[in-house]
């Protein structure tokens, strides 16, 4: 019987361009999540931990981060086995040359592809030595005749797991082919398993321990792996470690009240300081709902760790011309009508280069704002 934690893709020091000014917080949260991973391993009495690559976003990250990660991992009282990934390959100047690794006896950096013999387990680590390669990293493994429980660590792309650029391709049946009881993978940020023909799962991505971006599903977890004996089916348990909540709200506005509903929904969201919220609005904007829209903007910016909204698909309601009558007659109403025409993407009349529906909408809003200022 062996029990261990499988994690990967910590990508410490990663860029968070998509969240702009809170990037530093997001980065800090990945370190906090790393500590949660260790805590999870301790709580579950894991025999050891394996980190299947991409612990760091890049080899040239700040060395302070390297020290912090090493210290966090060292807080686990049992061995930790780490392989390098395509983001942090074993090259001269890599993070793995940092003295922190050798200062903690429980940390084991696999510096070559050769078996590591434990008491009742043999580990087959496949560290990566370059960023890109089309070589199957587990091709060297042959555990078919190993009487001990055989666990592989690799970093690559399981066939069919990604439609993007394929690096380090790994066969779906790699565990069976190599005779491994379990192949722990890194690279894919979502928790994913690949059952064999007999239904047993011997190959899985743990996913990133902390969600990386909006729209990333099943991330922010580690996998607790339990294998009773050689050849027995591993038992996988996904355990949440992520500290941030990335929420994407896709909302369609049709009625004046919809904007109010949305605001209330947003106000009802919990865990505000650890939430990153993206609101995508589509549909029509009634002038009466302008205030709600402004309120929502304020809510998003003030209440959450990070909030943003996209109202580019929100067009002024064609039927909502009530406020136009409040404008001074003549020129201003004429201007408003022209702008209103331009807010319609289907408008076939003359359109100045600047007058995209989005800009025209904003222009109308500006006119409305100025009118409000004047009347007040």
């Amino acid at each position: 019987m062996v029990k261990f934690i499988h994690t990967a893709d910590w990508q410490i020091g990663m860029k968070a361009v998509h969240v702009g000014s809170v990037g530093e917080t997001v980065r800090a949260q990945r370190l906090a999540s790393a500590q949660r991973v260790v805590n999870t391993a301790i709580e579950n009495h894991a025999d050891f931990m394996i980190v299947a690559g991409d612990t760091f976003e890049d080899n040239s990250v700040d060395r302070v981060l390297v020290q912090k990660v090493a210290d966090i991992l060292a807080s686990f009282p049992k061995p930790v086995y780490i392989i390098s990934g395509n983001h942090d390959p074993l090259v001269p100047g890599s993070v793995w040359e940092h003295p922190a690794w050798s200062s903690h006896p429980n940390l084991n950096i696999a510096r070559e592809a050769k078996p590591i013999e434990l008491e009742n387990v043999t580990l087959y680590p496949s560290p990566l030595f370059e960023k890109h390669s089309l070589v199957n990293p587990v091709r060297w493994i042959d555990a078919s005749n190993n009487p001990k429980i055989s666990v592989g660590l690799a970093h690559g792309t399981v066939s069919g797991a990604s439609h993007g650029v394929i690096d380090y391709p790994i066969d779906r049946e790699a565990a069976k082919i190599t005779g491994l009881d379990y192949l722990a993978l890194g690279h894919h940020h979502s928790f994913a398993t690949y059952p064999s023909a007999d239904g047993s799962v011997r190959l899985a991505y743990s996913g990133a321990h902390e969600t990386t971006k909006f729209g990333e599903r099943d991330s922010g977890n580690v996998v607790l792996v339990e294998i009773h004996s050689k050849g027995s089916t591993p038992v996988l348990t996904s355990i949440r470690t992520g500290g941030l909540t990335w929420r994407t709200l896709d909302e369609t506005v049709t009625e004046v009240d919809d904007m109010l509903r949305i605001r209330k929904e947003i106000e009802a969201l919990g865990d505000l300081e650890h939430s990153l919220v993206e609101l995508k609005l589509a549909g029509v904007l009634h002038q009466a709902a302008q205030g709600e829209l402004t309120r929502i903007q304020e809510l998003l910016q003030a209440r959450f760790l990070y909030g943003r909204y996209d109202a580019s698909n929100l067009l002024p309601s064609p039927a909502d011309e009530t406020w136009l009558s409040e404008l001074p007659v003549g020129l201003m109403q004429s201007v408003a009508r022209q702008l209103h025409h331009w807010t319609d993407p289907a408008h076939v009349g003359e359109r100045s280069a600047l007058a995209s529906p989005d800009v025209a909408t904003r222009s109308l809003l500006e006119l409305y704002r100025l009118m409000q200022e004047q009347s007040s």
């Binding site: 020091g13 976003e57 090259v91 001269p92 100047g93 020129l331 702008l339 600047l354 904003r362 222009s363």
Partner: protein
């Protein structure tokens, strides 16, 4: 509003109270001469309506009566709606304003001071001036309706009349709040953009986007720097990988080479020892060989010496036997040689025959040559003598002919012609009297060319010539005198005498003065000269550059040679020798001589050579014999020396065998050593040097690679210390944040810009709609005044004319470019058009102060017609110094200001 009267006092030229009115509802003409105060009235009207009563400054002081300290006052009575008002104002001293309304036929105060000012201005929607007196901008509707002296042009339409016109047209461009909102839009726009539509880039008022963009630029530069560092990290990392591999390879090679070098060193030592052994064995062998060779040589030398002794002895005997034979041969050869020499001497004696025959041949040739020369000279001298004689004869004949040469003859001929001409002229000047005597008589000529007495014969005719008179007396006959025409006889005579004298002088040496004779002689002399010349040429040709004496000397020389040769060979006197024959004889003799001498010399040389050879053979033989004797003696000595080792022959043979065994033993040892050396191959010391060099090179490579590795590692560590990725991450996040802010700003700016541009565009369209009715109305008036000369007046957003188009084909012409009169007419048409549109219903006063300064009479008539028609809708008040121009207006009411003023003054 209808003006009813205007009263001024203490106002510029109006010291006393002067009231003009009551004005008619229609057309009013106020007229008077210049300086009477027409413009002062207009000024009073505007100051009263639009200026505050307590206004200060130079402008209001100018209204005071000149040279007086009076308080200027003005009062206007007018109707507004159905009510009548009176507005009174006093300026400068105790300023006062009062607006009264007529109530029960009395004017009752309605407002005073500032309230009166404000209400007065409101009548025509005027505005208070913020500083000093008002100007046209503050006049409200009066800006359109009232034109000060000579200035119909409106420079800038104030907002109120403009709004009124716009409202009147119905375009609600400036609906309530529009202007404020438009200003707000402009204000919002101006926060971001300049007037020219560019983003404000500088100054404190520049929009946040400028700073954001600047920060973005800086951040992008930082990002680029990070990227470069990342690239440098990659490069350094790869370089370290390469260098590590290179170093590993070099170290491996170094280790291999080191091992190889160690092995090689052992081989070198082994090789060295074997080589030393070899040298030892070589020395041993050499010694054995030396000893063996020595004994072998001694044995051989003794045998050789003994053999030589025998051979020399035998040879000496043989050679000694041949000596007499050789001596005999020498004797024979000596004899043959002497014979040959003798024969040669004999042959050489024939050399004289050869010389003789050659001398005869030469002499024959010389004889023949001299003989020919002599004949030639002889002949030449004979010819010379003949020609010389001829020449002498010719020269003698020529000497006899006395004739003028060609030049002299020419002179003589010329002088003769002159003389004859003089004679003819002289004769022509003479009076000639021919007297034929019937009998002998005498005649005394007293005046004639030749005077004197002459005796004449019977039938003799005497020709007497003279000049100017011929006078002669024939005794018994009478005294005759003939007189002819006077001429210069003496001069002619002198000319003749001069010519004749010259002629005689020139011909005096030739014995004749007959010109024909002289010419004949000249021809004869010339012919002779020619013959002499030809003969001289002939003589020169014969001499051919020599003299006769020289030729005769040469002939004599040839003759002497011939005589000398003939003295030797007398036969040649008779028979000239045959040159060919003598030459052939000489050659034959020489040929035979040469052949014989060659043969004799050859024979002599052969004999001498044979003698020499035999003598040499003899000498050699003798020398050889002597040599053999010497060798025999030497061999004897050598033999004695070789045999002086104290050994006999047998002992020497045994010794040779012993030494040979010693030598073979040495060869055997050497062979073994050589084989061992061969087994080692080439001298390992050479490989040693090479290997050491290679090792050195490898160590250099390792050192170099180590150095580079250290450098790269240092560089990499430096880059790592900067944490470029982390810096890049922060930078890109900052950039994203900035870009997002810029995007938001840009969107807002785009929105504001679109809003502003839409306002401008819409406004422009509305303005166009607004301008059209004004233009149409103004063009209507202008057309009535000037006809179709101008197509149209062009207006812009200011609602004022900008240019005028003469016709469709020509674009707009600036108003300044048309005549002064036409400018007046255009501005009149515009004012009337604006007034029509602004006040379609309300009757308002139109006041023009002498504004048609440059307009001609016919167009002024048309203007007057328009004014008369307009008086149906407006109250028209014209101020002019030319009332006659408007006399045709039947409904006009005239006010003679001069009369009004004078009347008041009189009062």
């Amino acid at each position: 509003m209808i003006l009813r009267s205007l009263t001024v006092k203490g106002w510029r030229c109006f010291v006393n109270e002067t009231k003009v009115g009551p004005f008619d509802n229609g057309l009013n003409i106020i007229h008077g001469p210049n300086g009477i105060g027409k413009s002062s009235l207009i000024m009073a009207l505007t100051r009263c309506l639009f200026d505050s009563h307590n206004v200060g400054g130079a402008g209001i002081k100018a209204i005071r009566s000149w040279g007086r300290e009076l308080s200027p006052t003005v009062a206007i009575e007018f109707e507004q709606g159905d009510e009548q008002f009176k507005l009174f104002k006093q300026f400068l001293v105790s300023p006062t304003a009062q607006l009264s309304r007529k109530e029960d036929d009395k004017f009752v105060p309605l407002a005073e001071s500032r309230a009166a000012d404000d209400r007065a201005r409101a009548i025509l929607s005027g505005e208070a001036s913020s500083r000093g007196v008002s100007d046209q901008r503050h006049w409200g509707f009066a800006q359109i309706l009232w034109a000060p002296q000579g200035n119909l042009r409106i420079n800038e339409l104030a907002s109120v009349p403009r709004a009124t016109i716009q409202d009147s047209i119905g375009s609600q461009i400036t609906g309530i709040g529009t202007e404020d909102l438009e200003n707000k839009i402009s204000e919002a726009y101006s926060q971001f953009f300049t007037r020219t539509g560019k983003i404000k880039r500088t100054g404190s008022s520049s929009p946040p986007i400028v700073d954001l963009q600047s920060r973005l630029k800086t951040e992008k530069e930082r990002r680029e720097s990070c990227r470069q560092q990342l690239q440098a990290f990659e490069t350094a990392s790869r370089r370290i990988e390469d260098l590590t591999a290179e170093l590993k390879q070099a170290k491996q090679s170094e280790a291999e080479l080191d091992s190889q070098l160690k092995t090689n060193r052992e081989q070198v030592e082994k090789y060295r020892k074997l080589t030393e052994q070899k040298k030892q064995y070589q020395l041993e062998l050499s010694s054995a060989e030396d000893r063996y060779n020595a004994i072998v040589e001694r044995i051989t030398a003794i045998a050789d010496a003994e053999t030589e002794q025998t051979e020399i002895s035998q040879k000496h005997k043989l050679l000694s036997n041949d000596l007499p034979t050789l001596e005999k041969i020498v004797e024979q050869d000596l004899k043959a040689s002497n014979n040959a020499v003798e024969q040669l001497k004999k042959t050489r004696l024939r050399r004289a025959d050869v010389s003789n025959s050659r001398a005869i041949a030469d002499l024959a040739e010389r004889f023949t040559r001299n003989n020919e020369s002599f004949a030639k000279f002889n002949k030449q001298i004979e010819q010379l003598e003949i020609v010389t004689d001829e020449l002498k004869e010719l020269r003698a004949s020529r000497a006899k002919i006395v004739a003028p040469d060609k030049l002299l003859l020419k002179q003589i001929t010329k002088i003769a012609r002159n003389r004859d001409d003089a004679r003819l002229r002289l004769n022509a000047s003479l009076i000639r009297v021919k007297v034929k005597f019937a009998k002998q008589t005498t005649i005394d000529i007293t005046q004639a060319e030749q005077i004197g007495r002459q005796t004449t014969q019977e039938d003799q005719t005497l020709d007497i010539g003279g000049s100017p008179d011929v006078v002669f007396t024939i005794p018994g006959v009478g005294h005759f005198s003939a007189t002819g025409p006077t001429s210069d006889f003496a001069k002619l005579h002198n000319q003749f005498e001069s010519a004749n004298s010259t002629f005689l002088e020139l011909t005096s040496g030739f014995g004749s003065d007959d010109l024909a004779t002289l010419e004949a002689r000249h021809a004869e002399a010339e012919s002779m000269d020619h013959l002499i010349s030809n003969t001289e040429v002939k003589l020169d040709a014969l001499l051919n550059g020599a003299t006769l004496e020289q030729l005769m000397t040469k002939r004599s020389h040839a003759k002497n040679i011939l005589d000398e040769i003939i003295s030797l060979y007398p036969a040649w006197k008779q028979t000239v020798p045959n040159l060919d024959e003598t030459a052939r004889d000489a050659e034959d003799i020489e040929f035979k001589y040469n052949r014989d001498i060659d043969d004799a010399e050859t024979a002599s040389d052969s004999a001498k050579a044979a003698l020499k050879r035999s003598e040499e053979s003899l000498a050699n033989r003798k020398s050889e014999i002597a040599n053999l004797r010497s060798r025999m003696s030497a061999t004897e000595k050598t033999l004695q020396s070789l045999q002086g080792d104290g050994l006999n022959h047998q002992a020497r043979i045994e010794r040779r065998l012993q030494v040979a065994l010693e030598r073979d033993a040495a060869i055997g040892k050497l062979k073994i050593v050589n084989e061992r050396i061969l087994q080692l191959g080439d001298d390992p010391a050479k490989s040693q040097r090479l290997l050491e060099e290679q090792l050195k090179a490898f160590r250099t490579t390792v050192d170099s690679a180590n150095g580079k590795l250290n450098t790269e590692t240092g560089r990499l560590e430096q880059i790592i210390a900067d944490a470029p990725y982390s810096t890049l991450a922060a930078s890109e996040e900052h950039i994203a944040s900035l870009e997002n802010q810029i995007l938001q700003q840009q969107k807002q700016m785009d929105a504001i810009q679109l809003l502003y541009e839409t306002v401008i565009c819409e406004k422009s369209e509305v303005m166009n709609a607004l301008v059209d009715p004004i233009g149409n109305r103004a063009n209507y008036y202008l057309n009535r005044i000037v006809g179709s000369k101008f197509q149209k007046i062009d207006f812009d957003e200011s609602l004022l004319p900008q240019c005028i188009s003469p016709d469709q084909s020509i674009g707009g012409v600036d108003l300044e470019q048309i005549s002064g009169g036409e400018q007046e007419q255009v501005h009149f048409a515009v004012r009337m058009a604006l007034a029509d549109i602004a006040f379609p219903k309300d009757r308002q006063p139109v006041v023009f102060d002498d504004v048609f300064t440059y307009t001609d009479a016919s167009r002024l008539n048309r203007i007057a017609n328009i004014l008369e028609e307009s008086a149906e809708r407006f109250q028209i008040i014209l101020l002019t110094c030319h009332p006659e121009r408007y006399r045709g207006l039947a409904n006009a009411k005239f006010f003679d200001l001069e009369e009004i003023v004078n009347h008041k003054t009189n009062l």
